[in-house]
């Protein structure tokens, strides 16, 4: 068995996890499961994207939701005002987020450690303030889709179904992207930057461009997720599009599952979302759910700080070959 096979085993495991979540509502044919799977998959896509920057490159972005919100706004605008269809809007959202990431990257990726983290928080707030005063995007009132728009997709029922399939597709793409980055030479450069940026530069990694591309790659999918999320939501406004809490939750999901691994953010996001959903609706906990999820996270981070996959890799050295 070659090393390649074991590396691929990790990809199949990751894709398998995503597919199980994606097929669950289709097999059970249940709208509620579909809604639940949608939120889980969007969390997986966001966390896996951020992992490219946070896990592989070692740059903690506290404002990553800015790409979700910005892509969402651009996508929503193209649907609502320009009359584009969801596919074009999704592409527009992804490209807009990538462009934003590129421009931001040039400016702030020179910062390291805590300074970079602080700058990303500032950017989220700055973009929110900009949108709040940007009349074409509706300013503080935001925009609302006409219900008739869903008719083009065979009614709202079919539109929501379609959006779910797109989300499954996006999550599969982000999983493959994450795996590709992790196993490519480009990704090796990122890992080197994570371990020691100066040493990486000496070894021949062109760090400014590598970091910038990592930033761009980690922004595209959140932009596309934003576009389809707000198409489904039917309404967008600055408060909904740039929630700082979601940014923090993305980091928590990555840390739960294991940063810098392909499978980790997927498991972390799925586990975190499932737990939140359970606590939110269980009759016993529904009044206390935020406090309980906080305590659970505290325990997990205290006792398995490397996350689930990181812990498995440390505890069972044999699995290291294929669990990445």
């Amino acid at each position: 068995m070659s090393k390649k096979f074991f590396q691929h085993a990790s990809l199949w495991l990751s894709l398998g996890t995503v597919l199980v979540i994606g097929l669950w509502p289709i097999v059970t044919h249940n709208a509620l499961n579909r809604e639940t799977a949608f939120t889980v998959l969007s969390a997986v896509a966001l966390a896996s994207s951020l992992n490219i920057l946070l896990g592989y490159t070692g740059y903690v972005s506290f404002g990553h939701v800015v790409f979700f919100g910005f892509g969402g706004y651009v996508g929503f605008y193209t649907i609502n005002v320009l009359g584009w269809n969801i596919w074009m809007a999704m592409l527009a959202g992804g490209l807009a987020a990538a462009l934003l990431a590129y421009l931001l990257g040039v400016a702030i990726l020179r910062l390291r450690g805590a300074y970079f983290a602080l700058a990303t928080i500032g950017i989220n707030e700055a973009v929110r303030a900009f949108i709040n005063n940007f009349a074409p995007f509706g300013g503080p009132t935001g925009m609302t889709l006409n219900f008739k728009i869903y008719k083009a997709y065979g009614g709202a029922m079919h539109a929501l179904q379609l959006v779910f399939y797109i989300m499954v597709g996006l999550t599969i793409i982000v999983t493959i992207l994450s795996y590709w980055v992790r196993t490519s030479k480009f990704g090796l450069g990122l890992l080197a930057i994570r371990e020691d940026e100066d040493a990486a530069e000496v070894m021949g990694v062109i760090t400014p461009s590598a970091k910038n591309w990592a930033f761009v790659l980690s922004a595209i999918i959140p932009g596309m997720v934003g576009a389809i999320y707000f198409f489904k939501n039917g309404t967008i406004e600055p408060g909904l599009a740039f929630p700082l809490r979601t940014s923090i939750e993305m980091i928590v999901m990555i840390m739960l599952g294991g940063q810098g691994t392909v499978l980790g953010p997927i498991l972390g996001a799925a586990g975190y979302e499932t737990m939140r959903d359970y606590l939110l609706v269980s009759p016993l906990f529904k009044n206390l759910q935020l406090a309980i999820s906080g305590v659970l996270l505290l325990l997990i981070v205290l006792f398995i700080p490397r996350g689930l996959v990181g812990w498995l890799r440390q505890r069972y050295p044999k699995v290291r070959r294929w669990l990445i």
């Binding site: 249940n30 709208a31 509620l32 579909r34 809604e35 639940t36 949608f38 939120t39 070692g58 903690v60 303030a129 709040n132 005063n133 300013g139 503080p140 009132t141 935001g142 609302t144 889709l145 006409n146 219900f147 008739k148 009614g155 709202a156 029922m157 929501l160 489904k232 939501n233 039917g234 309404t235 406004e237 408060g239 909904l240 929630p243 809490r245 979601t246 923090i248 980091i251 928590v252 840390m255 940063q259 959903d277 939110l280 609706v281 529904k286 009044n287 206390l288 759910q289 935020l290 406090a291 999820s293 906080g294 305590v295 996270l297 505290l298 981070v301 205290l302 700080p305 490397r306």
Partner: protein, 443 residues
């Protein structure tokens, strides 16, 4: 080293989340409407006719038990719970065919954020089999929920959501109970005109949020149509605490009247600073903050400030005023509602509470008119509805903006002094006034 850094970041993150959660999570012992669950066993004893059957209708909604809308949303669902309890305690609604309808509520926490609303409403419809829906609190969450309710063909009564835009987007089964944002301040313009036709220069200063921007845009248009000269129209960011530069600008503009505001905190700060700076204006009307009883804590700065309210306990809508206006009266009087609410929750109801209660009341009337709980028949009854309740006139648009509230009118209150104490008086519309308006503003 790096590992330790990550652990530290992780612990800080989680500690922050725990703190945030503990700070806001208020485990409320919701007054569970238990009556409906046991009712099925008791029913046959009460009704002797063999044809009479009893059904329990499930009302589904999300409530912001945590997060920024917690207070308003809790009052709203307290109001709704009170209505459910009253109906079930009096033995349900009897329909013309003898069927007895009782109600039960199912609700979840939406955390005041939009990301779970659609999932929870799908759950309410598919899993909890909710027959009718009540909207979450706030326009933003309501527009997210509306798509789901419309998709499943469920009727949703939107209370606590004043935005106009939701109702101009082709929804057929969403019904608004609040006066829409576009009419929030128009009455304040009318009041000013009736007080002093010589005032011509108006300044608008408002919070940059979905709700207040929608309100002032409509008010500006209305004021211009009425011949006013809008000399300033400027927004401030959420959380602004120093209005000094804005106040100087108002003074420079020569405005004689100021309107705007946003929510409680900024509105009361603005009123206080206008008072402290002795801004020479004759009239001040602000959103949201003035109707709140704690606005009186501002002391003399509150004197003369006008504010719109969806409902006030002192507003005198009564069976007599219904007769005078040629409308059908339905439900309890304001006094009865206030008494029952105080007995149940040991606090005075505000307009959010009344909004929650009236959502139930309107549903009750629609079911009674329809003589059935069939959604199509109830929808037809809602479309036809034209009643006066303690909350005011309820009538829905059925043409270009289906479901938009067109009957209900805002009440304008003003803080006045009686025996040296600040009291809240209704000053507009004239039919509901409890005192003559205080004019001009004395600073």
């Amino acid at each position: 080293m790096r590992r330790k850094l990550y652990i530290l970041i992780g612990i800080l993150l989680v500690a922050g989340m725990v703190l945030a959660a503990c700070g806001k999570a208020t485990p409320t012992s919701a007054p569970a409407p238990k009556a409906s669950e046991s009712s099925q066993n008791n029913a046959p004893a009460k009704t002797s006719a063999p044809s009479a059957k009893e059904i329990t209708v499930t009302i589904g909604f999300t409530q912001s038990k945590t997060g920024k809308y917690n207070e308003e949303s809790t009052r709203q669902s307290d109001g709704l719970d009170l209505w459910i309890k009253q109906i079930n305690d009096q033995g349900g609604i009897k329909l013309s065919d003898g069927t007895v309808v009782k109600f039960k509520a199912v609700s979840y926490d939406d955390e005041s954020s939009g990301d779970k609303v659609q999932q929870l409403y799908t759950r309410l419809i598919t899993k909890d089999k909710a027959d009718f829906l009540i909207s979450p609190y706030s326009s933003g969450l309501t527009s997210s929920a509306a798509i789901i309710s419309e998709q499943y063909g469920k009727i949703m009564l939107a209370t606590g959501a004043a935005s106009d835009s939701i109702f101009k987007k082709g929804y057929e089964r969403v019904y608004q109970l609040y006066t829409p944002a576009s009419h929030y301040l128009t009455g304040a313009v009318d009041l000013l005109q009736s007080l002093d036709p010589n005032v011509k220069k108006v300044a608008f200063i408002y919070e940059n949020s979905k709700f207040s921007t929608a309100v002032v845009k409509a008010a500006k248009e209305y004021a211009e149509k009425k011949g006013y000269d809008v000399v300033m129209f400027e927004g401030y960011d959420k959380g602004t605490t120093d209005f000094g530069s804005f106040i100087n600008k108002i003074q420079d503009s020569g405005a004689e009247a100021v309107m705007g505001g946003g929510h409680f905190q900024d509105g009361s700060t603005l009123a206080r600073q206008i008072y402290e700076k002795k801004l020479p204006i004759k009239y001040l009307a602000l959103l949201v903050a003035p109707p709140d009883p704690s606005f009186a804590d501002l002391g003399d700065a509150a004197l003369g400030v006008v504010g719109p309210s969806q409902w006030e306990a002192s507003a005198n809508y009564s069976p007599e005023s219904a007769k005078a206006a040629g409308l059908t009266w339905f439900g309890p009087t304001s006094a009865d509602f206030v008494k029952a609410y105080k007995a149940a929750y040991n606090e005075d109801p505000d307009y959010h509470s009344a909004g929650g209660y009236v959502a139930g009341l309107v549903l009750q009337k629609a079911i009674m008119d329809a003589g059935s709980v069939d959604p199509a028949k109830v929808k037809a009854a809602l479309d036809k509805m034209d009643i006066l309740t303690f909350f005011g006139h309820i009538k829905f648009n059925t043409t270009d903006a289906h479901g938009l509230q067109i009957g209900h009118e805002m009440i304008y209150i003003q803080w006045q002094k009686k025996d040296g104490k600040l009291v809240k008086e209704v000053v507009w519309p004239k039919e509901g006034a409890t005192a003559a308006p205080l004019y001009p503003l004395k600073h």
